[in-house]
């Protein structure tokens, strides 16, 4: 009779092995992550969707109004303007941060004091965005006794220019601040990527008679295209969430000329007490982020990234 348990044990063992790949085990191991994602990601998304169809005046979500919030948003000039401004940010901020970052990384690589240059360029990253805004608000001040930029323009007998008060300059002025603050980040990332290019490739190109310009555009840029695209996605995501620089520097003004989406959400929520409309802005923001995230996920799937 002692043989029977021995005989039984192999199937048991097989069953154990089978259970290890079964749903129960899978769920057990996934549970902690799933619960966290459900609480902090999935639930807030649905909760926000629910809020966005409610009037939500002063945070009381008791009256469902359907799509009224969305319709009313589309009729709000400041909201439409904020989307246009965000597009400006996405185009100019992302492009220039990558251009400057790549340029500085390539140039710095060729000099002995590379570490010093990168440290200096990276320095603005260490400054809180609000402090960045305050510093630049001083730089842009109209009074040449305070504003560095107008003091310099004063020397060549131009201005003073009201950088933050003129609707035709204000967005450019703010985007410049953003670029100044993020170029260091791009430099560091791209510098690391450049270091990953094998020297043989570059040497082979030089042997074949390529000039430095050709090497940059035909070899370096294609070889770091993946880090660049990841960087671009990161920057775009950051810019869609952008709030601090306009908040500190202009308060969305003059008029509504420098409002961005996140600032509009803040205004609807904290200033106007219209939580339902603010939630609708959040949903629009989410919708804008989906294609960017989809692109990112596809990139992750297609190949390994730095």
């Amino acid at each position: 009779m002692t043989a029977t348990p021995v005989m039984v044990s192999p199937p048991r063992g097989r069953r154990v092995r089978h259970e290890r790949t079964g749903w129960g085990t899978v769920l057990l191991f996934l549970a902690p992550a799933l619960i966290l994602v459900a609480i902090f990601l999935v639930y807030p998304v649905f909760s926000t969707l629910r809020m966005s169809i409610d009037r939500g005046l002063g945070g009381n979500f008791t009256r469902i109004v359907g799509l009224d919030n969305y319709i009313s948003l589309l009729q709000t000039p400041s909201f439409v303007g904020s989307i246009v401004n965000n597009v400006l940010w996405i185009v100019f901020y992302t492009t220039f941060v990558i251009l400057f970052g790549l340029g500085i990384a390539v140039v710095a690589m060729r000099v002995r004091y590379e570490a010093t240059i990168k440290a200096i360029v990276f320095l603005p990253m260490a400054i809180a965005a609000t402090a960045l805004g305050v510093i630049w608000a001083f730089v842009y001040a109209t009074d040449p006794n305070i504003g560095l930029l107008n003091a310099i323009l004063g020397i060549v007998r131009v201005g003073p220019v009201s950088w933050l008060g003129d609707p035709s300059y204000v967005n450019a002025a703010l985007i410049a601040v953003g670029i100044w603050g993020s170029t260091g980040f791009a430099t560091v990332i791209l510098s690391a990527a450049l270091k990953g290019i094998p020297t043989e490739v570059l040497e082979a190109a030089r042997t074949d008679g390529a000039n430095e310009f050709q090497i940059f555009w035909r070899i370096i840029v294609p070889m770091v295209s993946l880090p660049i695209s990841v960087l671009a996605v990161t920057l775009i995501v950051n810019v869609i969430k952008l709030f601090d620089i306009p908040y500190v520097m202009t308060g969305g003004g003059p008029g509504n000329a420098s409002r961005v989406i996140a600032f509009e959400m803040y205004k609807q929520d904290f200033s106007a007490g219209q939580f339902g409309k603010a939630a609708a802005v959040a949903v629009v923001m989410l919708i804008l982020l989906i294609p960017v995230m989809a692109f990112n996920v596809r990139r992750f799937r297609s190949s390994a990234v730095v």
Binding site: G58, G59, S78, F270
Partner: protein, 453 residues
């Protein structure tokens, strides 16, 4: 300075006489009988505040910090001395109404809140967040004698009294540099045409851009518009415009905006309109009263005096390098009216000590203590004009006391959900299509009023 006391005599005398008459009805914290009216929860006659609850501790929240907080703390100390109850101050500097709402929703509101802006007062009153004054066992009609007519009106929601004004500033004050006007041989203007003439005179005497404007803070523009609208159309039309019945497409509105644009021009303002849109409220003060002044005139409320003499330039001498004149008139119904901006106190609980605190804030005792700090003008009639520490504040109190009608800051009266009036005006002074802007604004304001119900 010689003519100054004469200017003051009448209003001060009026205040004193009225306060002497009204004194009997004032709930005195130190014993005396409180105001008539028997609608207390306890039934029968109201207990005198002084012999009410003692030893209670309540929390009071507002958005003041710095010197304003220090000034208010003196009032709280006086409350403790007078009633034996303690009030603890909690500052909430930003996003005031939202934080307050979340505290109410979470069931732990402060006992008393001082509210900036009436839109939120109405919202909280209708959602049940704040208590009626009568819920505290205070008869609203008993308080009326303590205040000049109209002062209690902003605190009423749907006919019920929820908030009491505890402090205010005049918004009908136009600040200037007396020394610069004297040097140009000019007098302070009475009418709007005088103001325009004064600007031209100053320009001809070497002050290229005499009128400073801090339009980056867009609320300075709402005050400009409100003053002009009030002066041109009178208090009743003003109140109607800033009520649910207001029509922003009315010709009077665009007329007031056109009037505003007569002086707010590229020629008159340092850096022109776009320059002013980059200048903050306090920077605008500095353009007139700072050490490197480049303008001579600045319109904003009575609080400019404290900021200019306390922060911008401590060397300023009242009457010599800083003073104000009443906002210019148009020969219309609103010439003798005054606009004020102020804060409303409201109870969020009926805890022991809350009633005592609200009552204390209606007394001359609290008003005098606060007025002496120079931070505020007290709406309490019994406050002695000599309590104010300087001539600027005394004159400001007298201006409001002597006004034929007192109206409340209109932009603070609009529903919280209304479009940004200041941003709209920033567009107007840039010369954008006023009719289109007003149409959009009118639609937004109308739906915000409708949405409030």
């Amino acid at each position: 300075m010689a003519k100054f006391p004469r200017f003051l005599t009448l209003p001060i005398a009026a205040v004193m006489i009225v306060s002497a008459c009204g004194g009997g009805g004032t709930p005195a914290p130190a014993g005396g009988s409180t105001a008539p009216g028997g609608s207390t929860a306890a039934g029968g006659s109201q207990a005198p505040a002084g012999s009410g609850v003692t030893g209670a501790t309540i929390t009071v929240t507002s958005l003041w910090g710095g010197s304003e907080q220090d000034a208010f703390q003196k009032v709280l100390d006086e409350f403790n001395k007078a009633t034996g109850n303690t009030a603890t101050y909690q500052a909430q500097r930003t996003d005031y109404a939202t934080v307050l709402q979340s505290k109410i929703t979470s069931g732990s509101p402060p006992d008393v809140a001082i509210m900036p802006g009436l839109g939120f007062l109405r919202q909280f009153a209708r959602s049940g967040g704040i208590k009626k004054i009568s819920d505290l066992g205070i008869d609203p009609t008993s308080l009326e004698a303590n205040y000049p007519p109209g002062i209690l009106d902003p605190g009423k929601v749907d006919g019920q009294l929820y908030g009491l004004m505890v402090k205010f500033n005049s918004k009908s004050t136009f600040w200037y540099r007396p020394d610069k006007l004297t040097a140009a041989g000019a007098n302070t203007p009475k009418s709007w045409d005088d103001l325009k003439a004064l600007i031209t005179t100053l320009q001809s005497k070497g002050s290229a851009t005499p009128l400073a404007l801090g339009a980056k803070d867009s609320w300075t523009l709402t005050d400009w518009f409100e003053e002009i609208y009030l002066r041109q159309n009178g208090a009743d039309a003003y109140k109607k415009l800033f009520s649910a019945d207001g029509d922003w497409t009315d010709p009077t509105v665009s007329k007031a905006l056109d009037t505003m644009k007569e002086v707010l021009t590229d020629k008159n303002i340092p850096g022109g309109i776009t320059g002013a849109l980059g200048v903050a409220f306090t920077d605008g003060i500095a353009q007139v009263f700072g050490t490197t002044a480049k303008a001579d005139l600045y319109y904003e409320g009575g609080f400019v005096g404290g900021i200019a003499t306390g922060q911008t330039n401590t060397a300023l001498e009242i009457g010599k390098t800083i003073d104000w004149f009443g906002f210019p008139t148009f020969g219309g119904p609103g010439d003798t009216a005054a606009e004020i901006g102020g804060d409303e106190i409201a109870a969020l609980t009926t805890n022991p000590g809350v009633k005592e605190f609200i009552q204390f804030m209606t007394t001359a005792d609290s008003g005098n203590t606060w007025a002496k700090t120079g931070a505020i003008i007290s709406p309490v009639k019994a406050v002695d004009a000599s309590s104010y520490p300087n001539d600027l504040a005394k004159k400001e109190a007298a201006q409001v006391a002597g006004a034929s009608a007192v109206v409340y800051d209109g932009s603070d009266t609009l529903p919280a959900g209304a479009p940004d009036m200041g941003a709209m005006l920033q567009d107007v002074i840039q010369g954008k299509d006023t009719t289109a802007l007003l149409n959009t604004f009118n639609t937004g304001v109308k739906s915000a009023w409708a949405g409030e119900k």
